[in-house]
């Protein structure tokens, strides 16, 4: 299965060389629009026909921003995607593929086949803010930061307990320190705005980190 890539600006999913990008052909059954300008590149496409799937790299926005929505019946061969990535850490191997209610099964299958053909793992979700992973982990990270402030336990004991008790490879505090509290702030703030759920409101420590970053400290 051949694919074409149009890269529009820096990509959080593929920040560096990757076989999927390098393996692209001038023409292909699947069109991958990568980079922060992927949505604009899709809008500017002169001919959107003839593809099994068109894959738009998403940031925190919904796919519907680029495709439009109508009465809950929207869906076409245009899907969204994003490799899950925490802050400044390297992208994970997980690609979240975003579909709409009427997206054809074949388009989803084609997207899976492409990414998995390059050794990536896929999970399919609907077109919702935060997709799967951010939607689940951001309230958890906010709660961990709040409990640290409330002195439920030390940062080390909290991390150790969650690692031993749940088999997590990394505790929430050390993970946020490694990947950037300010970056967590940006993602969870976007979700807070989109969902209106206080669980996503950036925790105090994330706000402090964001303020310091903004001030260049």
């Amino acid at each position: 299965m051949s694919h074409r890539v149009i890269k529009s600006g820096p990509s959080r999913s593929f920040p560096d060389a990757h076989p999927l990008i390098d393996g692209a052909a001038p023409e292909g059954e699947i069109l991958v629009l990568a980079g922060v300008g992927a949505g604009e590149a899709y809008a500017a496409l002169a001919d959107k026909t003839g593809y099994r799937a068109i894959l738009i790299e998403l940031g925190t926005e919904c796919l519907g921003v680029h495709t439009s929505e109508s009465r809950g019946d929207e869906g076409s061969v245009v899907l969204g995607f994003a490799r899950f990535r925490l802050g400044d850490a390297a992208p994970s191997d997980l690609v979240e593929i975003v579909r709409q209610p009427a997206t054809p099964t074949d388009a989803v299958a084609a997207a899976r086949e492409l990414f998995e053909g390059y050794g990536l793992k896929t999970a399919v979700c609907g077109d919702f803010p935060g997709r799967i992973v951010d939607r689940l982990v951001r309230p958890y990270y906010n709660a961990a930061l709040s409990r640290l402030d409330a002195r439920l336990a030390t940062a080390g004991d909290m991390d150790l307990t969650l690692k031993l008790g749940l088999g997590y490879p990394e505790g929430p505090i050390e993970l946020l320190e490694r990947t950037g509290l300010a970056a967590h702030h940006d993602v969870t703030q976007a979700l807070y705005v989109a969902l209106g759920d206080p669980a996503y409101a950036p925790a105090r420590r994330a706000q402090v980190a964001k303020s310091r970053k903004f001030a260049g400290l």
Partner: protein, 291 residues
């Protein structure tokens, strides 16, 4: 050295059975008590099945298993708990029921017997207050599956003596576990984070964000978790998750801890997880997890 004490486990569900495996495997004479003798005996059958897998996998010999099981007794008579040096309660999460159990045990056990609750959501201080010996009462929260997980969250109540806490801590270490001291706060550390996290995952299914298997795949792949939230919920038992929600939400009033409607519907439909072979995922066996 306290290794000669008898450990009593009150409650023969998934947690009680797992704790009994840990105690017996570590060399402690172990008594499993349940108000229903048949359930207590079923727990020993589950233990045997678990150890049979351990033999198959080369972790134990059959002689070792025979020796371990020779230390295990199942009973439906609470008076049989009299010789215990430590009783670990692992019954369902209702303060009044736990209180009645400990009141009965207090009348039966000797003055040196330590009481411990495996509660994951209730206050240790409040349970201890109903035990008749709040100075000899600790929280010992084992993690699921207890027979495989080393961590035990240990919490002193407000009136727990330092000596009692230290004795319980030492027994826990002799059981081969890794105790961590936590505050006597709702959900301690693990459930404070886990119950709302799992509810959030259920709400993703409820809202049509993703299928359960996709959620598990995403979380495991993105974060390196050994289990996804849906398969973990199925292991915990969806009825148990309802009780955890009710217990935690009742004291915290945290919206994320409230029980998602889908969870209640699944429990009503007897889709309880692994133990009924069907929860968010389907299973072809209800056997106890691990070896």
């Amino acid at each position: 050295m306290t290794s000669k004490i008898t450990i009593g486990v009150a409650g023969s569900g998934t947690m009680g059975t797992g704790i009994a495996i840990v105690a017996a495997r570590a060399g402690f004479p172990t008594i499993i008590y349940d108000v229903d003798q048949a359930r207590a005996e079923n727990a020993t059958a589950q233990m045997k099945a678990f150890f049979a897998k351990s033999v198959q996998r080369g972790k134990l010999t059959q002689d070792q298993v025979d020796e371990i099981m020779s230390r295990v007794k199942a009973t439906g008579d609470i008076k049989a708990m009299a010789p215990c040096g430590l009783v670990i309660e692992a019954i369902f999460e209702e303060l009044e029921v736990k209180g009645r159990l400990f009141t009965a045990l207090d009348a039966i056990c000797g003055p040196d017997t330590l009481f411990a609750s495996n509660t994951s959501t209730l206050s240790i201080t409040e349970i201890a207050a109903k035990s008749g010996r709040d100075d000899r009462f600790v929280g010992m929260h084992f993690c699921l599956p207890a027979q495989l997980m080393k961590l035990v969250e240990m919490s002193p109540g407000l009136n727990t003596s330092a000596d009692s806490f230290e004795r319980a801590w030492n027994i826990c270490e002799e059981m081969g576990q890794r105790p961590v001291k936590t505050q006597d706060a709702p959900g301690f550390i693990l459930n404070y984070f886990l119950v709302p996290f799992n509810n959030d995952a259920i709400r993703l299914v409820e809202e049509g964000v993703a299928e359960p298997a996709e959620i598990d795949k995403a979380i495991k792949e993105a974060l390196g978790y050994a289990m996804g939230p849906m398969e973990l919920l199925d292991l915990i038992g969806l009825d148990t998750q309802v009780m955890l929600c009710e217990a935690l939400h009742g004291v915290m009033h945290e919206p994320r801890a409230s029980c998602p409607p889908l969870l209640r519907r699944m429990v009503a439909a007897r889709r309880l997880g692994r133990k009924t072979k069907r929860g968010f995922l389907s299973y072809d066996t209800a056997a106890i997890f691990g070896a």
